[in-house]
Symmetry: C2
């Protein structure tokens, strides 16, 4: 079987949050992780660490942390208007699917947790790097999502559980310098892959300075 094309994959990788409980072979998870670690990381440090969670007990504990974070995030969404480009109805559908995922998290065959081990660095640089630290893990996570799509597996990037990172560290037995950055539920999808709808490039791009239109065609 020839592999899916790069753009075909990118343009059809939607978040799939309704997953079947059927098991996913370890060999597929291995292939997904082997693709993940081809992503860049700062200074090629490769401080990413991954946990492949399949134990029902650990999944249940993760779900408890997730539900706690999800209640915080749900409250936030309910307290504000939907972004204009989405509208209340479309946002509502996303939130419904996310709630479904939260409530069925323990039935998902594989919960992949992506972590970063903090490298030693001066405090002043560490403070300025905080929001940039994800540059050494989320590119790998995107490779995970694309690989899942290419292998016919549903997945979605979530950060909700990491709002309670200390509880996640306890559940997973992580050392203090290893923090969770993403939880990616992986399984065969109930829904379908399909074209990803977005605002246009022109709506989010400028040339040279803010406010100068980019057309590019």
């Amino acid at each position: 079987m020839s592999e899916l094309g790069i753009f075909e994959t990118i343009f059809s990788t939607r978040s799939l949050r309704r997953l079947k409980p059927d098991p996913v072979p370890d060999a597929m998870i291995h292939k997904i992780l082997d693709a993940a670690i081809r992503a860049p990381s700062g200074g090629n440090n490769q401080n990413w660490r991954f946990l492949v969670v399949k134990s029902p007990e650990v999944k249940k504990q993760i779900q408890d942390v997730y539900l706690k974070g999800w209640r915080d995030v749900q409250g936030m969404y309910k307290s504000r208007k939907a972004p204009e480009h989405l509208g209340e109805e479309r946002l509502g559908r996303i939130l419904d699917a996310a709630t479904y995922l939260a409530e069925h998290m323990n039935e998902v065959p594989v919960l992949l947790v992506a972590c970063l081990k903090a490298p030693p660095m001066p405090a002043d640089i560490a403070a300025r790097l905080g929001r940039l630290s994800g540059s050494s893990i989320y590119p790998a996570v995107q490779n995970v999502l694309l690989s899942c799509r290419a292998l016919g597996l549903g997945a979605t990037l979530t950060t909700v559980a990491s709002l309670y990172d200390e509880e996640m560290q306890a559940v997973l037995g992580l050392p203090k310098d290893v923090s969770t950055y993403a939880l990616i539920p992986i399984g065969y999808p109930r829904g379908k892959f399909g074209p990803v709808q977005r605002m246009s490039v022109e709506e989010v791009t400028c040339v040279d300075r803010w406010g100068q239109a980019f057309t590019g065609k």
Copy 2:
């Protein structure tokens, strides 16, 4: 021409830091950005904003900020040992290429700056989300890198300039709620694409809890 396969692309997307000054067509940049915005973003907010910098004057100003950040980072690397999996020689080669890039930044045809507009949210969630905010921009950046590779363009993910984000905001005329997260120099490569060397999956993966080996084959 059929497009490159997804895994073939992922496994050969190396950071290419030595780039030719030859111009890159706007249509290619448009295609790259069209792929970028298929990535996920928290709540599908699509708060990413991109600046396509081609003006020699703006490039020079960005280079000045970059060089300042690069001196900080270089100092950090010089003050500590190379990670074991790299060794001093391999790290030295990476640092040499990065220094070359910093010194030739103004000659790179396109500097793509990836930004995030901070969504309104309660302060307590914002504080916990800080290090997680990159989850809504770095997946898009990874799509940029993979698309460049597929189109035969060299690129690399850098965060050095964002150490001085306020200066970048001034150079690019960004509103206060828009921060830079990555600077991706894009151009035709002097070097070659090739297999990406990494530690093995087994070295960075556990099953269920920290310390439990994953083999997956």
